[in-house]
Every structure is written in C-alpha cells, then in structure tokens.
Symmetry: C2
Subunit: 335 residues, 2 copies
C-alpha cells in the first residue's frame, strides 16, 4: 500500500525504548543490553523498518555515494570505465551517482554543484575542459579524482600514457615499412586528442623523417573516421597507413576504406586507440588502455581518501600496450 515507511520513532515506540537505543542497537553499538537489542531487532523486523539513508547521511555527514561526471555514455569507452568503477564501488560499500555533462563548461559546473550534499566525493572525466575551466567548476570542499582531464591544478588524477601509445603505433607501422602515415585526430581542446596528436608528430619526425605529417581532425565518433577517408581521397593524398586517435574513429576509417575499395591492411594499415571490446572482434590493431582498471583504481583512491588518509594531488600515469591484430598484419589478407 501507499503507507509511509516506518521511522526510527515507530520502532522505538513498538519496542518501548528510546530512539537512541534503537539507533545503537541497530548499528551494533556495544553498550546495549542483549535483551534490549533483541526487542529492538524484533520490532524493526515486525515493522519492516529500513533506515532512511538520506537522514542518516545528513546526520553523519557521509552519504557513502560517489558522483561520476562524464561527458558521454555513448560508446564503449566510458561504459568500460564505469563498469570498473561499479565493481570497486560495490566491493567498498558505496554507491555510484551518474551525471553526464555535455560539453559546455558552465553546465559542467552546474552538474558538479548539484552533487553537493549528495555524494562524498567526485570522479570527474572532463577531457574537453581546460585547466582553468575545470578548476572553476570543481566545488571547493569535495574530494575529487580526475580521470583523463587536464591536470596540473593540484588534484589527484589519472592520465593515460597517450604519447607512448601513439609512438608505439607509429614505430610498429614503420617497422612494417609504412612511412606515409596519416593521423586522424580527436577534437581540438580535448586533452587526450592533443597529446596523441603531438606524439604523432614526434614519432613521424623520428620514424619517417622527410615525410610531411598529415592530420585530419575528427570528433572521436565513428562517422568522422569515414569522413576523414573521404577527405583524404578528395585531397588526392597518398598514404599507406592511418593512425586514428581512438577506436571508434578507426572503425569509421575501416568502413570508409572498404567503401572506397582500398584493401586493409594491404594498401592501408590502420590502428586505433583504447582497445574497446569491439576492437577485438574486428581485428583492429590498437593501443590497449585498461579502462575498467582505471575506473576501479579511481574509486579505490577516492574511497581510501574518504575513509582515512588524505588525497595526494599526484597524477598517476597508466601504461598502455600495443595490441597487434589484423589491420596491420604483415601479409595482406590475413585478417
């Protein structure tokens, strides 16, 4: 029925004790007479009493919830990270409050503010915000762990080793004899995109000296990968490899190449970044990022800080690993 749930006072009345005793009994305090505890437990059981988490957290100043701010739930990149968080949060007895924040910086600030008093800490993924915007948006009192965001603002954070991943990709392609390597970059302003792009230039200088780097800007979504191929063809560019800044765009690139009748990896080799689950199925050579693990570690670090120690403002860099699959196979046609 629509009857209101029992409160602690109802239980107290039913058990003929004070609310203090009910609270102590149910929270396992030691200074409660066994007989009293039994009466309280029986009364709570009889009334189907469940403590009101909101009231509890107001009084304790702990909600046992952590907020997750992320730009997009689309695609496997963030899903995987959230999955890792969920796993860890479950193990630690916390809850996850999701909030996805669309690109705009003031909306981002808005999203974070709306979490005050709802969560004990924040995990923020905001690759599209610059350092100043991020700093302004973060509420002052709340512990936060940044993931994939501009750091250097004195906050705990995790960063992917973007440079090493791209450099490994380019080196791998160079080892296969490819030199005319194109980069399909992520959106300007995105920190990961920028680092990957810079690494591409550095790697080209090292492995393909004398060859002009070509960068086409995409937006991390699949379609922009296909668009990039179309653009390359309309430019009459010659290329024998494409390094995409993430897997989704690499998939678009593959589609674009297939539609253009260009053989992969025979004519053009392709690499991605992230190693989302899809990549394995499609045989895409890519840079593995332990996404779920990053999520779990971010939660772990935050919860540790909430429970005991303090949050050191270090940036932890997460190693990546090149995973070679069919799209850069040595002999063409080997999928």
């Amino acid at each position: 029925m629509g009857q209101a749930s029992a409160t602690i006072r109802d239980v107290a009345r039913e058990a003929s004790v004070s609310v203090a005793s009910v609270s102590r009994a149910l929270n396992g305090h030691s200074s409660v007479h066994p007989e009293t505890r039994a009466r309280v437990v029986a009364a709570a059981e009889a009334l189907g009493y469940v403590p009101h988490a909101g009231a509890r957290s107001l009084s304790l100043a702990r909600s046992h919830a952590i907020g997750v701010i992320l730009p997009d739930l689309h695609g496997e990149f963030f899903s995987e990270i959230v999955r890792g968080m969920d796993r860890e949060v479950n193990a630690r007895g916390y809850h996850l409050l999701l909030s996805n924040m669309h690109a705009d910086a003031s909306l981002a600030a808005q999203a974070m503010r709306s979490m005050r008093g709802r969560v004990d800490g924040l995990i923020v993924m905001a690759p599209q915000l610059d350092a100043a915007g991020l700093d302004a948006a973060l509420p002052k009192g709340v512990p936060a762990v940044l993931v994939n965001s501009h750091d250097g603002i004195g906050r705990a954070s995790f960063r992917i080793d973007n440079g090493a991943g791209i450099i490994a990709s380019v080196a791998h392609l160079a080892a296969l004899g490819r030199r005319r390597i194109v980069h399909v970059a992520g959106p300007a302003g995105n920190i990961d995109a920028r680092e990957r792009s810079e690494a591409y230039h550095a790697a080209m200088a090292a492995h393909a000296p004398g060859i002009a780097p070509i960068v086409i800007e995409g937006d991390f979504h699949e379609q922009s990968g296909a668009d990039a191929v179309a653009m390359l063809r309309s430019m009459d560019a010659t290329f024998d490899a494409i390094v995409a800044a993430n897997d989704m765009m690499a998939l678009g690139v593959l589609r674009g190449l297939r539609e253009a009748g260009m053989d992969v990896p025979g004519t053009v080799a392709v690499t991605g970044f992230d190693d989302i689950p899809l990549a394995r199925y499609l045989g895409l050579t890519t840079v593995r990022v332990p996404l779920a693990e990053i999520g779990a570690r971010a939660v772990g670090r935050l919860v540790d800080a909430l429970e005991g120690g303090d949050l050191s403002p270090d940036t932890l860099t997460v190693a990546t690993e090149l995973v070679v699959r069919g799209t850069t196979a040595l002999s063409p046609g080997t999928p």
Copy 2:
C-alpha cells in the same frame, strides 16, 4: 582549502536576513522584496554557497534521484539501456543512482533496501528473479518500474516481445530453406531466456514439422556460444542454422563455427537477439530491441508517476524487429 562549505545560515548572516528569506529568495518564491533578494543572491555568490542536496531532500521528502538495479554492467545490453535512462533523466532534472545486483535474491533485496531515503523511485531489471522473489525484494513504499522481469505481480513494467522476435527469426531461416535449426538458450530461470526458448519450440513446430528441436543451454555470455558449437560437434548433430538467445552468444557461436571451419552463412546460418551495437559491425542477423528507448521510457513513466499521476500496474510490451544481415545472407560469402 578544506574549509567547510557555507550553509544557509552563513548566507543569512552575511545578508543580514533570516534563513527563511534566504530559502525563499533562492528558490524563486514570489513574496520576497527585490532588494532583499538581491542582497541574498550577492551573499550566496560571495560565499560560494551551494545548497546541500541531502538536507534539501530530507526536508522535501524528494531526492530527485532514481535508483537503477541491474544484474550486470558487462556487455552492451545493459549499457545501452542505462544510456537511454541517462538521457531521459537528464532531460527531466533527475539523477541516476546505479546499483548492480548479483544473482542472489537476498542480495537483491539488500540492494533495494539500501536505496530507501536515497531515491524517489526504482527501476529494476531482474530477469533472473522469479515473481515471488521479486515481490519480496521490492520495498513497499517505493514506486518502481520493472524492466525485463517477471511481471504479473501488479507492478508497472516493460517487457520485450521475445516470442515474436524468435518466431520471426525461425520463419526467416525457414524461408531460406533451413530446417535443422538449433537453439542456444539463455540460463534457466531467466525470464527472457525461457520465453525465447518456448517461442523457438513453437516456431519449430510450425516451420520445421517432423524435425526434432535441439536446445543447448548457455549463460548469455560469449564463451557459452562457442561452447555450444563444440557440444553440437561432439554430439555429431547435423544442423544448418543456429538461433542464439542473445547477441553475445551468437558472437561466440560465430567464433566456434569459424574455429571449426564451418562456413557462415553457407553451411550454417546464425541469428542473435538484442541488436547490440556490435551486431551491426559484425554483420549479425538479429532481432532489434530498442534498448535505449526502453530505458528512456522506463524513466519517463516513473518520473511522470512521481510528479503527478499514479503508476498504473500495466505491462507494456515493446515490439521487436528482425534485422537481416550477413550471417543469414541468401548466397554464401556475401558478408
């Protein structure tokens, strides 16, 4: 620094008014003198005041959060549903509190109880719980919408039209001339799995009379699809089509067939269920379920109930659609 956030009383002091006026001014009540409102807003701004959502929801008895209970965040099935929810929840000004509940029924009840006082309503996906277990686990006072769960316990719910989907798949295969159709089922106890399995039997009776149906039980994960193929081979079964109860298992089936050197769709045609994003990339014929839309509609219905009307205990059935792709192509080799 670590200084505590400003409370409404701090703002009141700063603006030299009472807390009541601060509350009224900030919440857009009309009966506040413009001059007072300005002073309050200025003070709030100066102190960086952000209302404490927990306190607010305690007093209003509304948290503007809705809890989502789901069995697993792994795979694209639930990710897609959550994505749809997130979209809708954002539009409606609510938050999403995730909680994934592992198979056990008492843990499920535990998970739901822990949400009392934290959320205004619940969306529950519990295909593995039977009606009694579900009814016992659901807290009494909280409005809830069931998705993909046993219904018939007088709760608002959404169900996928499993029967129609499987029947369409079998009919499609029969139209291609396949008769020896095997079903790789989901885990026993799962309501979707059972309905799909029953529909398979009915469809076989209709489209392949005289042919003994073969069912291999899987667990909805990829590996069990591959295992099913191995089992079929060890049984020396003859078959020319496999209807998997979901896409992940269909992917496993494809892998198993490839490893066994059996041509798809030449020798064996394969269908899945759900149309997760992966299916499109791999050319898997499958039954499309509008996952994101289901999530969004579940949220919509719940929020409508929370804000105004009541929650009618109807079960809404969501239509599916057969999507034909390469794994059941007419001529073999056409991917």
